[in-house]
Subunit: 307 residues, 5 copies
């Protein structure tokens, strides 16, 4: 398709990257129901690995089948479908050329607690290339005692991915030496998102931030400078600002499954704050397919109107 002005503008922020990386960013932005708007709705399905298969798929058993998610992402008009190696490998050949894919290169299970949370690298850039992916994904846990291990691994993968013409999406989940509330505190989310940008992320994915400040030093500044954090829109805007003043793509996860109204209200807040989109897993695939398609369509409408 001809590039829209918005897509051209977004690509201009990535002028430090080679044309291959930008071509794949364009592939993501030019696909699906939001093509050309610069907005994103991505379907991520790594919950089987992260939480176990029954917790993830029993609410909607067809979702045990990796083909289900591919078809859902295609039919819903998502910009991309993200999954770990095994699931992509099992299904990608049947959906060649129908939806851009993102290979999640690290994953963590919940069979045992880790003192210093850290995901295992479960795929490679070489896998992403042979599977025809448009990007790689990688999770960091800012706040973890093992965060530097992850930052360094990420740095190497970003570099390797660039050589293969692939952009990198960073899942930034603060955890470890933080209070439970702190994991989604606005200062922490903004900080984690900024670190991701500094590490070379082309797209940053964080949880919707709460109106809470975790870090004492930060709290002083937020209060002194009067940074507004009351509404989700304000907080989303602050996170986006923290990502190179809006010059990196920032998208938000949907989190645990919840009611349709709650989902849409949250998305409205994010969109109002300038979010580039949502990455919505459980709220999509744990619903019956028709409901999921309806919900994703509504989410896309919100972002389209905000574009």
């Amino acid at each position: 398709m001809a590039a829209t002005d918005r897509v051209k503008q977004i690509l201009s922020w990535y002028s430090g990257d080679n044309i291959g990386v930008k071509t794949n960013l364009a592939r993501l932005m030019n696909h699906g129901a939001l093509a050309g708007t610069g907005k994103f709705v991505i379907l991520p399905v790594d919950q089987g690995f992260e939480h176990g298969p029954a917790r993830s798929f029993a609410p909607n058993p067809p979702a045990y089948d990796p083909d289900y998610h591919f078809q859902l992402a295609i039919d819903a008009g998502c910009n991309a479908y993200a999954a770990p190696l095994g699931a992509l490998e099992a299904s990608a050949d049947r959906f060649v050329g129908q939806v851009p894919t993102i290979l999640k290169l690290n994953n963590s299970d919940t069979l045992a607690k880790m003192e210093n949370p850290c995901s295992a690298v479960t795929g490679s850039v070489k896998d992403a290339v042979r599977l025809g992916c448009a990007a790689i994904g990688y999770t960091i846990y800012p706040g973890s005692g093992a965060r530097n291990v992850m930052y360094e691994e990420l740095r190497e993968l970003v570099l390797e991915a660039k050589d293969a013409g692939l952009p990198t999406i960073v899942w930034a989940y603060a955890r470890g030496a933080l209070s439970k509330d702190g994991e989604t505190a606005i200062d922490v989310i903004a900080y984690a998102a900024h670190i991701s940008c500094q590490l070379g992320a082309h797209i940053v994915k964080v949880k919707p931030p709460k109106d809470f400040l975790e870090q004492a030093e930060a709290k002083k500044v937020y209060e002194k400078q009067g940074i507004p954090t009351k509404t989700l829109a304000e907080r989303a805007r602050h996170v986006v600002q923290s990502c190179f003043n809006g010059k990196r793509i920032v998208i938000f996860s949907g989190g645990e499954a919840k009611g349709t109204d709650d989902v849409l209200e949250e998305v409205r807040g994010l969109a109002a704050g300038g979010a580039f989109g949502s990455i919505m897993g459980r709220n999509a695939f744990q619903r019956p397919r028709a409901e999921a398609l309806q919900l994703l369509s509504s989410v896309m409408d919100i972002y389209r109107k905000a574009s």
Copy 2:
């Protein structure tokens, strides 16, 4: 042999793999008494390393000789014989072309306890190639504090094996931060099997699951969704479903030596639940040869009828 429809169907699930890998999967499925059925009975002999020679072989002293196991697997019509490096190397030349072999690439002894259980890598893909193997095998311990080490090692071996045209069989034994019952809990076994698939396993091997739920979060879901786990058939079906909705080959270990009736009853339950087969070591080679052949034949009959 001409490929049966079932073999073709199973191979279609591995469309993300190169033809070399699929050719070796076909070698496994087209050999032995179950050739063409898509069912498997594999003879694994790594117990000498895992439990010591006397515990493994004294009940049937001819089994001290690695040739014994090769001949047993051939005469019984097993799909394959799996063993660590030394044993394969000692005997493979005398049995060239008579039974597909699987090189187990990591092993763990029981001379000392490990806080974070982890096997040592004891062979290489290069060894598997020069020994003419049809697959590699690797053990992970989901639940161990060292699980990420194993996941990452496995990931690299899977990639290297693919380059050599070899599929990977993952032995998934949950242990570590789990109760004793939890190691064979249905939620844990299903989870461990799913992780194996996501890591790129072509064939997953787990223990027969018990009617027990280890994880509190999982327990809620199993109860809410009414996932049936009373019978072994139900549990086997759930494990198979957890492996990409049945699109990965899942086989079950026989575990400790037990009476013939117990073995066959267990196999009947597994087969009824859609298990792709059994991998049966001690229950085979610790019996006198004639009895072992009889038992394996009965096990194969059960799977053949279920195909």
Copy 3:
């Protein structure tokens, strides 16, 4: 876009390739005015290198600017734009995501005659990746005393390109130990196209064959078997058949600039014979832009109707 049945059928012929290669084939087939039809119109601009700039661009001076060709390919709705390294590098960044590109990896000038014609390798797979290309291109001269050099170079590039997820388009121009007529003889063109397929070409590009037989041994067979070669449609059909019975994409060059009617009549013949499309350079860019757009549109109409 959702894959059409025709695109899925064509992709099924490339089942020996990895998903990355197939994804890029799909990119080519899902772009432009012929998206989804399995037909191709590609704009190639390497004539500046092959014939010199004035011979190539003076008839339409805006064509001296590589941006001109990118925009022409985009506005005309071509499936792809093919060019040597320098021209792609000069312009690709301004057109990211707007049209798939093909990096021509070898080129030959006409400043001196060569006894054994052979192009120079002027780009690399690595260049194609960093420029975000969807394919590489390579020219062979079957009939040349240096053909084995080219076949071997091609073989290495095909393998390297596959590892980068890129398909290969082979320009097969017979020349060397052939009569002038022999270069476009139907037996020679069919043979050159077949060789390209055997060397691993995903797409083959040849000149429209003439009703002439060059090789004495071949002539006997064509006459004995009554292979029809009178009409261009018959000859195109024979070339397509010679490419794995139609299971490789075969496209035809437009050759020297000529009148619109001549171009369209030739395309009608090719389309009637089952050609997968045309690759049209001079007949496009040597016309004024408006005329070129009109011509390309008419060509696409012909292929669309034939699909």
Copy 4:
């Protein structure tokens, strides 16, 4: 299958090779209608590359499709199917596990004469591995001024193939500094076959030798020692003897298409002389399928009786 005594005996001659190579030799010997006899009938289809598509396939047009040959080799019960890269890649995925394949790694076209005949390398050991092949094939032209180039290329490929567990089949065609009759002279064929063995060939393929002596020095010895060369059986026996006294597998090509009686009489002569089998292309695929299956069956009967 259990190895027959004959297969075990033949494998014993390859004791210098690793078990992977021997396993693939066993795959070839344990497949098809001649499984276990130590005899071979192989279908080779590289004539499209060597002579052009029309000369090769027009007599039986379904043969334009590479799938045709795979199915023919399977249905006829051939030990293997040999082809260049493109044809294997186009079809192998649809026939996984149904017939061993041999990747011909070099090929030569007939679009131009070469002063020093030499084939181009058109595939790699890496390709053979990813395509699941059981062996590689390579052609040498003893007598050519470029023979050392080929011997050295072969030597490297043999070594690389061994590392991948693959045996090598050498097509030994004397040409170059020889009279036309000399190309199939008994002294030359025996010499070319012996050279192949010394270069590491596991299987040697030559043309049926004629009762003619090319080399003056050799002629003296044949006459002095009274080496019998009158009948084809005698000549075949001499060639087999020249290959390490019968300790290398020697098979014979069928050559140009001819009548059924002529083919069978030739095969009877070869079989009587201890030939290990035939590699029969044009005489198989240029016949209608039913006739080809009948002919191959008759050929196999002759070898089976001779085993």
Copy 5:
């Protein structure tokens, strides 16, 4: 065995080499009927490749079998058996540890003349290592237009062989830009032997020189300095002197088959001149086995007495 003083003395000349290389030299000197004497009788069998199988083996048909030569070298008490790759590979496993072996790394056939004689590299140091060889062998043709190619190949192989702990034996046959007599002229043989030493040969093998001077410049010096060349003993002494004043092992070939008396007289002359031994192929294996053993025993007696 304990090293004799003579063996220690010879090893002291190779003090620039690593202990691995010297250990293998000692293996050669401490094996067989001449063990400990510093004298050598080696059985070389590459004539099948060099002259064709019938010319080589028809006079004594059991010699078609590579096993025959191994057994002959063992039973005769030769220091080593030298052969090309294929023959060693075919038999070495059956004779492990019974006689040191030398892998001849290049060979030349006589199916076509070469303007610039040059052998093809037909084996590798890696092969020599995996076959358990004690040395590699390589042929140079000083006097050939391609000699520098050979010198450079040799240099690389010598270096690679040293890294593997293997000494190198150079077959130095002058041919090319020389008169027929010149190929065995004393000045030429001495020169070729010296070049071999300079190229890093541990053992040099030349033909017995004739009383003829080829090179005009050399002739002047031989005459002026009164270098005695009348008797074979004088000429052998001159060749040995030309090899670092006797500090390299120089052995002589037997050449064409001839009568027993002629062979022994030649050997007596060589031995009297300080030759380190003989390498005797056709004169050994073209005789009936009993005669060959008798002849080799007589040859060894002569060298033993000279030690």
